[in-house]
Subunit: 400 residues, 4 copies
């Protein structure tokens, strides 16, 4: 592809490329959602006597055919289409004629874009919640498989207290379930019907029924007042991506632990061979690339969040074209999160702990012993602790 | 004075300063919360037969006196204290002797720090929710005061549709209420009892009752398993600060609109004189510094969020001292958000719109006229729109 | 096809997709640079008696043909290739047989990847420097065209001092030239020869000549010691993208000014029609989408920088696979910066100021008048200023 | 301290607190620089016949006394002063009467603030450069002390190639020297004289000599045109803090390596006792808190950079009060960087490697052996590598 600054590109083409950006590629995933939102809007118009039964029937049939044809790969959004909405409107009018244009009554590009995006995000949130829970399941299964394997409990990367693989895995599983809950909670800002807000100031002079499209599309509420709709742009998106940041942070920390356990010096675990890659240098070396890439994904999520938070920052109210730039970081964050969950779930299935290599420092039982002394002899913890420390020192000396 | 982990080694002053950082200043706000958490812990120990009635009575009296003395400014946390927890333990033992040390049974610095912080955060979240709602109230009052004032509805910073001050103010009010809801929802991750998780691996050998302290302190749930407690560090903090980012973003965009309206070229509003500052250059000039500083606060919040998200990123599980660095950005974000809400609430009380200066482009009624034509004549919106556009052009020509 | 580290284990497709990511698409731009680096490496091997003349000749011919074929679109990197380096090695061996494998002596994937990337970045930095300078040129031309147009000088978005379009344009031009200088200065970290560092620990046992490849490829210095090479990953990348952040920030602020000037309330400028887009709502409305998208690009650059800075953060030394994730934000930042410069350069060519609409507040001459009083009457500035302020008030009263 | 939202605070007080922020505390470090800039300005005025010899003498004496008194702690900037500039002007006039006001001729708060800040930044950059170099020195000394200690060279956290403590330390030292060079290069944007730009539009009607103050203060160039001065706000600040980000990133990665080496499982190093802290749980445990806090400082630097980059983003040209918010993250980043360098320098002096615990995997010599085979037998690297791999497998079998 030629860049904008190549000499000889006509100006219109340059402006189109700059303003359309990658929308024609990104929007493929929105086709089915724009179809659903358009259908609900048409049905509402018909109920409100703003669209005839014949036109509605033609629109319904046309939209359904377009959706099926897209799913079969028979057409794609092109750069000239600019985005999914123009692509669909153009093709619908080609198929069913004038009726295709009547669907534009009582809506604007601004509420249409947002309706499709939010419907997609609701589905994405469901998938992401499931993906996070699946990693939690895999962790719990690992904890069960290794129910008898002891593990040092670390603080400051130093052995501190007795723990177990089971307890370690349960801790991460709890955080992943917390992430799944957070993703579910982010639906609050997504599940609001923007249809009927039009360009951001409502539809003067027409009896639009926002409740009907709200129910038809499964949104929780109608977003009110209409001026709030464009003001809220970026907040629902940021809300979801923030939760994905936490999710990837938890996955990244899980990866860090596993990378540590997988060093030759720890040697606490083995990884499934399919999850490691060979080296061009050492025949016996198997590199844990997948875990490194999961750890690195933390950075991509944080970058995406910063990008999303920055976009609406300081903008005057009312729709601004800057907001179009929300899509790339949003889709990037969603896709990478889904992929990272899927690969970690699979990887965890193959992790095996090597109990023979896991050596617990005797000192890590000191606190427990001191606690028991307190119970048995009624002395203070400080006194008990002092006595245990002395015993441990003596035992260590005996070992020498 | 001895720090908890002191074993007689003379400590290099530089290391103390580097490791303690600003904690002795930051922790002033945590005194009352550490007292509450310590009290609940002592009561639990007593109930579990791990602390005598006399010791409990001494501890209760001692903690209460310390709290009152701190509120009266009679003592402060010093650098040598290092942090609020050591400061209190030291002073408690000075007052009541050995009993003061018995409170340390069954807890560790790690769960103690977190308990105090979360109790503080619950209070802070309440204040922040109230502060955001108060700005929404002020916006709604402004909308009522200016109920009859028309305003252009902008898209792309261009006049697009008819709107009103009422609708404009309601849109921002709705977003601020949404922010308040978001802050309230962030309590989910805060309101979890960490007490009993100790260093992160529980309290072996002692019959600790985590449900008792949970109820006594008003937490929603006991955080389980114990290994999740330290893994979750930073997530509740980030959750609250993320919501504050959205809050400040909304305030910042409100400031942007008002700054635009306050230019001599728009001249849509006047600001209360106390809210503007004079210029050393132009006598008649009144600068809207408060609004600029609110707009700039967006940046501070985003920076704080990035700092908080970065801190736990990629860390191995188990407590790490890096997490101490969470406090400065957290407190910074909370304080600036409270102050920014308070000042905006006051400023909005004094905003007056100047209807004579607000001129609506006649073209912004075009969409409404087209909609009415559709209703009256049954033609398509495209056709109606074409006719209205023609009429507007004719009207504009007549004006010339 | 076999990946370099393949030893016959059938690779799970998911792992390949996750680990290869989008490299096969991203790496298209690196083909020519990997060819150049490979050629220089082969010539060095030959000089050092590690590659025969026949093998070198075969390699040279093979690499050249591959490059030309790629430029003609005859082959592309596929997902199975994984990245540009495997793609080229495989195709070279297909063409010239065993000799194709001999090029791998004395280098590793780690230094090879970095050599190609840095050569690309040096070219990119040149283009970016030129693109920033071209915007500065367009600004200076605009300043010349509008040499006689007065403009208020604003502080706090309030008219403060007399200024001119010329001075306004010169200010932005100076900052863009400063950005260009910054981009040029970022070459310092890029222009270092990594070849010969191999996996990060040099090439034991072989007489590699790092100076030869340094000179052949036009790098400024050989990066020493070999352990610094992988430690420095991300720093040169961040250095360039940081400068692009500043560049886009300047472009974004320029866009903000123009968007303000383009409002109906200011109406200081007109924009070329090709640079605005129509509205589906108001016939006479022309939206300045290009400027909004440039303003929004600020966010994408900041997000990219955060992503790049985060990737190497906290990693242990030595190559880690996380670093592969540097490429997407790096290329994204470069492409968007080039495109934004190109479109702004074109847009500025068509900006026209509308002097009739630019009204300067009489008060903005106060400071100058006071200065002149000081000169003429030898009084203090404070006294002069007081007198001028009084005169202005009187003049304003006379106008009423 | 009471917060703004406390009921009962009069409005003026609230506005003052919000607008002044922490400037009265932050500005203490700027006193000496504002004095120097004021002195140079007064001398220029005198040379240009705009200030009498007597007034200049009074100003010189007054400024010097104020500086000395401040250094002795006899006065401090108060909240009522608002910032360093008002504090000095007020006190100067108290001391020397009317002459104190004459210094305000031909300058504005905007260029005065910037002059003091840049002079401070030039000094800060020098200190930071020295601090980074001192860490490099300490690393090189460590490399010398441990000249004979072997270390595995890691990739993917797996042993990959033979290396040494010397080579490891040299790699980090090279990066720290690179950071020092980066800090020095950031002076380019700092060392520009803003004096004479006044509010951002120059000093109409007065024969100001910007070259004189430039030379007197040691700036490299006069910043031209005057409109560029305020446009450039934040760029020099960001430039320095960006370099500090890289510096802290390198320190953080050094800390990560040392934390890994300090685990009981690696046990490659011991740390000086003064640099570790005891545990309340395990008597024999010494925690590496300093290293963890250095690792965590990465996050603070990144947060500061984001805050600084965000502040000027999207602002219209001309001075805006938002820019006042640049100081806290700027000073925070500088102070933390200096402290972190100082503590790491000290810590490195006491690091000792424990060669007995450092076990190199025999496989890490494979690449070197293959290279030697190529040299000796003229076979390809692939063939040599295959043979070595086979030998290693045989040797490993013999060990069993």
């Amino acid at each position: 592809m030629q860049r904008l600054w190549d000499k000889g590109t006509p100006l219109d083409e340059r402006v189109l490329r700059y303003t359309a950006g990658e929308d024609h590629l990104l929007d493929a995933r929105l086709v089915e959602y724009d179809l659903r939102a358009s259908l609900a809007h048409a049905q509402m118009l018909n109920r409100q006597q703003l669209l005839s039964d014949e036109d509605l029937a033609a629109i319904e049939a046309g939209l359904q055919e377009l959706g099926e044809a897209h799913a079969r790969g028979e057409w794609q959004i092109t750069l000239d289409d600019e985005d999914v909405h123009t692509a669909l409107e153009k093709r619908l009018t080609e198929r069913i004629g004038e009726a295709g244009k009547r669907i534009h009554l009582g809506r604007s590009r601004n509420d249409q874009v947002l309706a499709a995006l939010r419907l997609y995000l609701l589905d994405a949130a469901d998938s992401l919640e499931g993906a996070a829970d699946a990693v939690a399941d895999a962790l719990e299964a690992l904890g069960e498989r290794e129910a008898d394997t002891e593990l040092p409990g670390y603080t400051h990367m130093q052995q501190a207290m007795p723990s177990s693989v089971h307890l370690w895995a349960q801790g991460f599983a709890a955080e992943l379930r917390d992430d799944a809950e957070g993703i579910a909670a982010s639906r609050r800002r997504i599940s609001r019907n923007p249809l009927g807000s039009a360009a951001g100031y409502g539809v003067p002079g027409l009896p639009i029924d926002r409740d009907f499209t709200c129910e038809a599309l499964g949104f929780d509420t109608v977003q009110e007042p209409v001026t709030a709709v464009q003001l809220s742009r970026g907040k629902a998106e940021a809300g979801l991506v923030f939760e994905l940041c936490l999710l990837l942070q938890d996955l990244g920390r899980l990866a860090t632990d596993l990378l540590l356990f997988y060093t030759q010096e720890f040697a606490y675990i083995s990884l499934p061979e399919e999850m490691t890659t060979g080296s061009s240098i050492m025949p016996q070396k198997r590199n844990p690339d997948v875990l490194e890439l999961v750890r690195g994904a933390t950075a991509t999520l944080q970058g995406s969040l910063v990008e999303i938070l920055n976009l609406p920052a300081k903008l005057p109210s009312g729709y601004q074209r800057d907001l179009q730039r929300l899509k790339p970081p949003l889709f990037r964050a969603i896709d990478l999160s889904l992929d990272s969950c899927a690969i970690m779930e699979k990887l965890l299935d193959g992790v095996e702990f090597l109990p023979d290599n896991i050596l617990l420092d005797p000192g890590i039982y000191a606190a427990g012993r001191a606690n028991r002394l307190v119970l048995e002899e009624g002395i203070s913890f400080r006194e008990a602790y002092r006595r245990v420390a002395e015993e441990i020192r003596r035992e260590a000396d005996d070992d020498d």
